[in-house]
Amino acid sequence: MTDRAPVSIAAEADSNRLAYSGGALSPTEQAVISRRWGWLLYAEYRLTTMRAYLQTIVIRAIGLPLLYLASMGLGLGALVDSGAGGVDGVSYLVFVAPALLVSSVVMEATGEFTYPVMSGFKWQKHFFAASASPLSPKQVALGELVAVGLKFTAEAFVFWLALLTFGAVTSPHSWLVVLIAPLAALAFGVPLMAFAAKQQDEGAQFAFIQRFVVMPMFLFAGTFFPLGAMPVYLQWIGWISPMWHGTQLARIVCFGMPNPWWLTLLHVAVLVAAVAVGTWVAARVFTDRLTR
């Protein structure tokens, strides 16, 4: 030990060789693994951090469907069914339930892909921490959306169980909503992540999105009534909303809503394209910011 070290410290930890224990993989092996699986390794980290607020996630995942289905499905449903005899040939609960599932998961995307992204670059800087490891910025962006996508899937699954409990589905294919909802949520969330990654400073931009993008989408994109019930000049809000495309798909699989095959295909294509383009842009923005 050097003469500069306080005595109490010098006594400790002399037995183990810290620098090279010999137990680690070689750097070459480390690089091979992270080149291939880096996106998954980052997703693993992101899921670990979610454990810190697991309780909130679980309570929300269970509580939200119960509140929605009880109020909208049963409360409002009784009114609609007695007045109009249901919507599109099914009870209001069956009509609205798949849409509530999809829209509640899509709305989660706002929380997951705005402030946490800014934090990764600005406050906690965990994106910079990751980019000092063998991971590439592209893998970090991809891992982020994979982890959040898995969380969405879990939430959709819990919501679907609630749908079953409430007797709100009539088709054996209804389990597909567990995949449709996260797809729709990522179709909205991944482009949002690219946008959030571009922001240098916290301003009103995220609150603006919440108020003027997410809320109108929730109210006007065919969640509570068929899009066709609105004047044509308002229907575009639905057409450009991932929420509407996801909702329509959910209705098809949950109660067999009639839909031309090409339109069904178009719904899927729009959602997949939004995720793909969003991922590509996000990967570029992450790379720009993490390799200045």
Partner: protein, 306 residues
């Protein structure tokens, strides 16, 4: 064979040349310092070594590899301690180490043992299950260093390791770094503290405005650019400038700072006698050894910390 080699390395942001054509070599097991004021280009150089900043021109190799094209391979050999701690405050200390180790593809059983060893090394064993937010500044810094060691790196990059720490925390940290050096880890340290550079570095380059202005061991640099001793005298901020003309031939070199005059001489006491023999009575006087601060002042005409 050097572990890091830079030739005519340049990094520009538009018109600004953050790093303006530098050459240096780092030998295996060496403790190499980049000394300079804020904005000298030290951190940018560090980021280029890790491949997280792309160079504008020149060549750079780390263990014979280009960090830009072989980033994962280079970074698997590096431990990076950034200027600002970027630990995850939502995770506990031990989890911070383990989750970070997973980025390197290291298996969990290895990481669990490694994390315990590193917590002991960082003297944080008792804080293993504590949230990061509850740690002091010095503890966070040590945890960041522990995290940087998780993959058993050959080279440790430390960007201002002790900035913002109190003297005791700095000494604990220096001691930990000495241990690593003894085990053969190559250290690359940026700092704007001369005492830190003198404590930690076998060899260093002095950087200013993106250029290297001098290179050598701390002792060599002091020998070459300064005198053995320095006499510091104060006549009060009003009088310093007025008195300085009478002191021109008292020492080898004279520097006037806002609050004091520095007289460079092999024998400080003798210089002080010459000052008083001229009937000048400084308010305070101090004879000390030359330091890297004096080297920097000589090379750039400015103090390191402005």
């Amino acid at each position: 064979m050097s572990v890091i080699q830079a030739r005519a390395l340049v990094k520009s942001y538009g018109e600004l040349h953050a790093v303006d054509g530098i050459d240096f070599d780092v030998a295996p097991g060496e403790s190499f310092g980049l000394l300079g004021p804020n904005g000298a280009g030290k951190s940018t150089t560090m980021r280029m070594i890790g491949g997280t900043s792309l160079r504008t021109s020149g060549t750079l190799t780390v263990l014979g590899m280009d960090p830009e094209t072989r980033g994962p391979e280079v970074r698997a050999n590096l431990g990076v301690i950034p200027q600002q701690d970027n630990l995850d405050s939502e995770l506990r200390c031990r989890e911070n180490l383990i989750t970070y180790g997973r980025y390197f593809g290291l298996p969990r059983p290895y990481l669990q043992k490694r994390a315990d060893d590193l917590l002991a090394f960082a003297q944080l064993t008792e804080k293993a299950n504590e949230k990061v937010d509850n740690l002091s500044g010095g503890m966070k810094r040590r945890l960041t260093i522990a995290r940087g060691l998780i993959n058993e790196p050959k080279i440790l990059l430390l960007d201002e390791p002790t900035t913002g720490l109190d003297p005791q925390a700095r000494h604990i940290l220096w001691d930990r770094l000495f241990r690593l050096k003894e085990e053969g880890v190559t250290l690359v340290v940026t700092t704007h503290f001369m005492d830190e550079a003198e404590q930690l570095c076998d060899r260093l380059v002095v950087m200013d405005h993106g250029r290297i202005v001098a290179e050598g061991s701390p002792a060599q640099l002091i020998r070459e650019y300064s005198t053995r001793e320095v006499l510091e005298v104060r006549f009060g901020s009003e009088r310093n400038a007025a008195v300085v003309e009478q002191l021109a031939d008292v020492a080898d070199r004279v520097e006037v700072l806002p609050d004091r005059i520095l007289l460079y001489s092999a024998d400080g006491e003798a210089a002080l006698e010459r000052v008083t023999s001229r009937g000048l009575a400084p308010v305070t006087s101090l004879v000390r050894r030359s330091s890297l601060e004096d080297v920097f002042l000589r090379l750039t005409g400015r103090s390191l910390i402005d």
